[in-house]
Amino acid sequence: MATIELLTKQLERDEDVNRKNIADWDKEIAMELSKQEGIEELTDRHWIVIDFMRSVYEEKGDAPSIRKLTKESGVDTKELYALFPKGPAKKAAKIAGLPKPKGCI
């Protein structure tokens, strides 16, 4: 378990993300995390996905994977891959400060 400091907040991280500090996450941290993932700017469309991920995680304890995102977030598969290149579910979860989705699909 490593700790990283982002915007003066200490985030305890497991291999993926700050699992222990999910409540510490905020929009500024999301913007920092997105830069680390190579996404320079978070648009409204990015935020729809990130907010959806947070709300599903709060409800179910697991971040949604790609099919749920496609069907329910209001952003389709093509756009998801355009917004978060190289693995939308994994990347969006990371930026949302959540562990990687457990589902296979």
Partner: protein, 155 residues
């Protein structure tokens, strides 16, 4: 550490439900991990991308010891349909979509979808017989060209 996998080329050669899904799950999983993926359908695997057949892919209940039912029973009318219905229900619960939706999703995710020319000729099929996600009908030689630098997975 070993080099991460960057590209996979997945061959689907069987037309039963249990023959089709592993390849689709692996292709989708690859894209989810940021790995480039190509799907190549051959022989009975083509059923998964034939417009009229892809919504009727069934579990094989005969000749499959892991079904744990006697072969004679597996051959009774309706057994395959029933097993398919049950399995589809369970798959839906864990977010595995029906074949058509899955193919759309995988294609939208940037995975290219090809049919095998030899099989298409053998079964007297035409491009119009396939779902719109089919990118092309190609030869085995072209398949190898497109698979350059990829890990090839045969299912």
């Amino acid at each position: 550490m070993a080099e991460p996998i960057e590209k996979v080329s997945i061959v689907v050669s069987k037309g039963s439900l249990e023959g089709v899904y592993p390849g689709l799950i692996m292709a989708n999983g690859a894209r989810m991990e940021g790995i480039e993926a190509t799907l190549f359908f051959t022989f009975f695997g083509l059923d998964a991308i034939i417009d009229k057949r892809m919504d009727h892919i069934k579990v094989a209940t005969v000749g499959n010891p892991a079904m744990h039912i006697p072969t004679m029973m597996g051959g009774l009318p309706g057994m395959s349909a029933m097993a398919t219905k049950m399995m589809s229900k369970e798959m839906e619960k864990i977010d595995i979509p029906p074949v058509r939706e899955f193919i759309e999703m995988i294609h939208d995710a940037g995975c290219e979808i090809y049919g095998c020319l030899a099989t298409v000729d053998m079964f007297h099929l035409k491009k119009e017989d396939f779902c719109e996600q089919l990118d092309d009908i190609i030869t085995v030689g072209e398949f190898y060209e497109k698979s350059s630098g990829a890990q090839i997975i045969f299912t």
